[in-house]
């Protein structure tokens, strides 16, 4: 090409020049690497034939939560990793997960039980009433908030090899169980000391409450962990919400306080009761706290539980199961874009 033509089309020349330079650099790099890389000739003898029994499959994970439970060993290691990460360079370590709730319990008990007397005098064993709620609210908020952060936090693992990505929110849920387990134990011991008994009704309530809690917590963790990959704002939003959760369930005050709202603000009552966590806490209190109450005339059942406790419970379980299903669908839809978003 003549010089005149060169000047006439500077863009073209620029493009070609850049291309040539890039090629030149790569070639030089290649030469350098060719020398840097030791060459080992293939060993003698015929190549073996490896027979692979498996089918041709899509390498990307599609199993969802179900696949997580097939890989329990990996789940266990990821939980251990999360625990190690949490308590790295801390002297008290795991104890922190108990000190914080213990102090919060102390403050709530003092403020609501002693100063404000929000139990209205008709809630015997108020401390148990409060504690039974707090343990499960704590479990929920920890699963939710650490589950929301989990996928982002484990980006290095996620980008390394394929695995069901749901494993991270699930691991957060298991980690939260580590922290809540001993609290439940303490709760049980106190119940037994005060005088506790079980009946079929209370066991059914406990199981139903637990089922609602687990499905709801998992659904929320799954849903928000996917959203948080796209917009990190969600972990702050979740952190803000978890601050209010303690006040949104009947544990610092008896159910009757909320029931009274029905007269003037029926929709506030309905809104309050639509919270799966509130329903779950009520059922848990039915299991832990109510059997310790001896003088039932002072604390009638209707004062502490809604008349339609069971119907609501079953409907709520159906709703939270549906939410979990929806959250899984949502997660699977966003998941293919995770690697490039992280």
């Amino acid at each position: 090409m003549s010089k005149a033509a060169d000047r006439a089309r500077p863009d073209d020349v620029d493009e070609r020049g850049r291309r040539r330079n890039a090629a030149k650099r790569a070639r030089a790099l290649m030469e350098k690497k060719a020398n840097a890389m030791p060459v080992v000739e293939a060993p003698d003898g015929p190549r073996q034939v490896r027979v692979v029994e498996a089918e041709l499959v899509d390498p990307a994970p599609h199993g969802g939560i179900a696949e997580v439970f097939q890989q329990r060993y990996l789940l266990k290691l990821i939980v251990q990793r999360q625990l190690a990460q949490m308590y790295a360079a801390s002297v008290l370590g795991l104890l922190w997960s108990y000190i914080q709730p213990a102090m919060r319990f102390g403050v709530y008990f003092f403020v609501f039980g002693v100063v404000l007397k929000s139990h209205g005098g008709n809630t015997p064993n108020f401390a148990l009433h409060l504690f039974a709620g707090m343990v499960f609210v704590h479990y929920f908020s920890e699963t939710w908030s650490s589950g929301t952060r989990s996928v982002r936090q484990n980006r290095a693992l996620l980008l390394k090899m394929r695995m069901p990505r749901e494993i991270f929110p699930v691991a957060s849920m298991v980690t939260a169980m580590y922290h809540t387990g001993p609290q439940i134990l303490i709760l049980l011991v106190i119940c037994l000391i005060v005088g506790w008994g079980v009946s079929f009704t209370s066991i059914a309530a406990g199981l139903l409450g637990l089922a609602i809690l687990l499905t709801f917590a998992m659904a929320m963790a799954l849903f928000f962990s996917a959203l948080n990959v796209y917009y990190k704002d969600f972990q702050n939003i979740v952190a803000t919400f978890t601050q209010f959760l303690h006040f949104m369930v009947p544990m610092m005050y008896p159910y009757s306080t909320i029931a009274r709202l029905q007269d003037n603000h029926p929709w506030i009552y309905q809104l309050y009761m639509a919270n799966p966590l509130a329903e779950s806490v009520l059922l848990m209190q039915r299991f832990f706290w109510y059997p310790t109450v001896t003088d039932t005339t002072k604390a009638p059942l209707s004062d502490h539980f809604p008349p339609d406790l069971w119907e609501r419970g079953l409907i709520m379980l159906a709703i939270t199961s549906l939410m979990l299903f929806g959250a899984q669908k949502f997660f699977s839809r966003l998941e293919p874009k995770f690697p490039e978003r992280l």
Binding site: A26, K33, V39, A54, A60, P61, R81, L159, E340
Partner: protein, 260 residues
């Protein structure tokens, strides 16, 4: 012969987002700037690999080699087309990625092994051999944050190569590490190649590719432009080589020095 990897008309889009945050996005919109742009990292690529074949994947930086490997090992999913693989995949896409700095080498070994699909029993049975290969000796119980980058890479490679995989992917893993270790790695890769494992080897080192591979794929800005014999592939890569460059060789090497 059985098919090991089948890639069919695969395309992978990436979104380049220029503006982030509400404020920036609003400002960009007001000024009429582009907010995001798509580009195809992999563009309509198809090929089939038989079990036991050893493939050298070559191309300039940014031509989509790593993306292709990530698609094959399932970390990424194609936007169009299908990928099918047979059997267990192992390998290193990024050296030592996924090591947790606060955990000891031992804990990281177990975690990484599990990520690569090994069971607890399998890892335990191969534990000594992995530690031996990695040459980390008594650093095993030290947090990996105290490791030198060479040790980091050695441990990562040692774990990956000990997975009894049907497909092994190696993406410039060997760039780190000293010469004796590199040699050891390449020898080990020749061994697994001999045992019939499918190998995907990304490298710029022509001599090494020549010794290691049966077939070369060349990617150029997302297009698979060459698929075939190793020698031809290497020659193809130097397509616009001209006398001019050879004359100016001294300067190119200097340029290179600044590049590395």
């Amino acid at each position: 012969m059985t098919e090991s990897i089948v890639v069919h008309n695969v395309t992978k889009d990436f979104t380049l987002q220029y503006q982030r945050g509400l404020k920036q996005m609003a400002v960009a919109r007001a000024r009429g700037l582009t907010i995001k742009e798509n580009f195809k990292a992999i563009n309509d690529v198809s090929f089939t690999v038989e079990q036991g074949e050893s493939i050298g994947l070559m191309g300039l930086n940014g031509s989509g080699k790593s993306t292709l490997l990530k698609l094959i090992n399932g970390v990424m999913q194609p936007d169009a087309g299908t990928i099918r693989t047979r059997g267990r995949i192992a390998g290193l896409i990024a050296t030592g990625a996924g090591f947790h700095p606060q955990l000891s080498g031992r804990d990281n070994l177990f975690l990484n092994g599990a990520i690569l699909g090994m069971s607890e029993k399998e890892i335990k049975s191969k534990f000594d051999s992995i530690v031996d290969f990695a040459e980390i000796g008594n650093f095993l119980d030290t947090p990996v944050s105290h490791y030198s980058s060479g040790m980091y890479a050695r441990l990562g490679f040692a774990i990956a190569i000990h997975v009894d995989a049907d497909i092994f992917l190696a993406d410039e893993v060997l760039a780190v590490g000293d010469r004796p270790f590199k040699k050891k790695c390449v020898t080990k890769m020749q061994e697994i190649r001999q045992a019939g494992t499918t190998i995907f080897y990304v490298s710029h080192a022509t001599a090494s590719v020549r010794a290691m591979c049966d077939r070369v794929l060349v990617l150029e800005s997302g297009h698979l432009n060459f698929d075939g014999d190793v020698e031809e592939g290497i020659r193809y890569l130097q397509y616009d080589d001209d006398a001019d460059d050879i004359a100016k060789k001294g300067t190119t090497d200097e340029e290179l020095g600044a590049d590395i």
